[in-house]
Symmetry: C2
Subunit: 351 residues, 2 copies
């Protein structure tokens, strides 16, 4: 679990534009491994049933987070608070969100704490809101959130539900300078079974390695993801604004080559959420939509979108958990304010 | 400690316009006493040194709080969280802020929890911000805040200092609908000595009783407070706005009778902070400035200021703690953004 460059590339692809800048997470991970040694990757079955899993993620706006480096104290302060509450220290760190920086940075947090990293996460991708995690969809009560910020504050939230969890955590995050580290849904291994998405660290590594030395990186990435190519072209318009700790905006891609004359717009709220062409939705959340550099197949994150970039937009199916009624209610298009009934990307592509 | 009407009158006077609507606190206190029985009033010396004192207060904008009634669950949830953290239940409730609703409502909270009320508070008046308490001025680390809201959420903050405490608690309060119940600076009796203002519940009761059946209520109140009359007149202008959980504004009083031709403006931020006449400051925070009904001597709180009211403005000295350098740094005029050097009200009046 020490191939950080491959992990970072994979996490950026799974981040669908968001989840924070992977470069920040990579630097922290490389530095922490150098100082504390390599981080073992564990499967859920490797842990005793009562072992405590600490799902950690950064919360905040990507445009802020990529300028802020987590200190070493945040994971320690959160682990101490968890131990104070549960009477035992965490046995493993889990990424709450494999997409973006939050997929890579947990390697640093695990190294600093001297505990293994679990090969699982709570999304299988990136999502902007605290309650948009598999643990919530699995019906585990969102009864505890522990946050720590760069100033050293620790905030523990015992929310009545996942929506309050999001509302209060977001308010604390904004007050703390639009960035904080957070443990959400602290779980025993027994509780985690069926409530986390397993194997996603391995998947991110495989996605990151797929393009390594490939003659056709874009093709290799498509194959590995099982993705559909929505368009290849040029970024002709990027509109972004940061409000209330979120980045919202639109990216417009005009087709080139075989796609000349076509035009795709991608709506984003931290992550890429909906892709539209000629008034027809081509892909929508919770399916994954990622903008990649056409030549290198490296993911372009929201904050890296620039006029004139040569890009390809890929879309592929989300984890089946997100296609359940509770999954769609939590993170389907309507959860983001879009008046759209969810249609899987496979059907939209063939339709 | 069951003369709630007198306590409420006194707390309103000490509230200098703010601290929340005393009527809400009174109703809750009367109801709780009826249901759970009378609340004993304790002096600090009555408690063993390691007894846990839970200082409680409502936090929020007065214009919101007077429409919201605390449930019975908030104090219980906070007491439970305190017991979880300290390993023993609280032995007494303390009002963090004797001024306004926060001076009266603790009677209800104590009744609901079945514990005595401490004859002390953290201000001797009302202040708008979390760090403006005697415990902060006494140098006690602001290392724990426990909050609960009407929805049932519990938030525990371990801030690095008092300013972060205010910033994070305010953010949580606004997210919770601009009102929450809060325990700040949970103390043992030993630690509380010299760090709380003792005797203030008794003082509020005495102030409230001073006008009872008096032939000259205004004179009786002035004598009891040792207050200066700044003006008697008519409210001719009231400007108020609510922003970020605070009420800010200005009240203008034009003199009548002997004061005809004079004009006083009172600047307020939840509380009345500065009284100015002809460009001369007549009284300023942390000294107390209260607008009272000229006939009944009942305090008029910020949200009750109405055009045409016949009022008298009284001002009197704050607790000596607030006149120390740390006290003035914390809650002197500059702490509220006024470019004024503090001059005690006694000197301004004789100057």
């Amino acid at each position: 679990m020490n191939d950080i460059p491959a992990l970072a590339r994979g996490c950026a692809v799974l981040g669908t534009g968001g989840g924070g800048d992977v470069r920040t997470g990579s630097l922290a991970a490389i530095r922490a491994i150098r100082e504390y040694g390599p981080v073992p990757l564990l499967r859920l079955d490797d842990l005793p049933g009562d072992a405590l899993i600490l799902p950690l993620s950064g919360i905040g706006a990507p445009t802020v987070s990529h300028e802020m480096i987590h200190g070493e104290d945040e994971p320690k302060r959160i682990a101490e608070e968890a131990e104070r509450i549960f009477g035992r220290p965490p046995s493993a760190i889990m990424s709450s969100e494999i997409g973006g920086a939050n997929g890579v940075a947990p390697v640093a947090w695990a190294a600093q704490l001297g505990v293994p990293l679990l090969d699982a996460d709570g999304m299988g991708r990136a999502f902007p809101e605290v309650q948009m995690v598999s643990m919530y969809v699995a019906g585990i009560p969102a009864d505890l959130v522990i946050m720590s910020d760069v100033a050293g504050n620790v905030v523990t939230i015992r929310p009545v539900d996942g929506l309050w969890s999001e509302r209060l955590a977001r308010a604390v995050c904004v007050a703390a300078g639009s960035h904080a580290l957070m443990a959400d849904y602290v779980l025993t291994a027994d509780r985690a079974r069926g409530a986390v998405i397993e194997g996603t660290v391995t998947r991110a590594l495989e996605v990151g390695r797929a393009t390594e030395g490939a003659a056709d990186p874009l093709g290799a990435l498509r194959d590995r993801l099982g993705a559909t190519r929505l368009i290849t072209g040029k970024l002709t318009d990027v509109e972004r604004r940061t409000t209330g700790g979120f980045v919202r905006g639109t990216a417009t891609i005009e087709g080139t080559g075989d796609d000349r004359g076509r035009r795709l717009t991608v709506e984003l709220q931290n992550e890429n959420l909906v892709a539209v062409e000629d008034g027809r939705t081509r892909a929508m959340v919770p399916d994954l939509i990622t903008v990649v550099d056409t030549e290198t197949a490296a993911a372009v994150q929201t904050e890296g979108l620039r006029y004139g970039q040569r890009v390809t937009v890929l879309a592929w199916p989300c984890d089946p958990l997100w296609r359940t009624p509770k999954g769609l209610e939590t993170a389907g298009p309507r959860a983001f304010g879009y008046d759209l009934d969810y249609v899987p990307v496979e059907e939209l592509t063939h339709g």
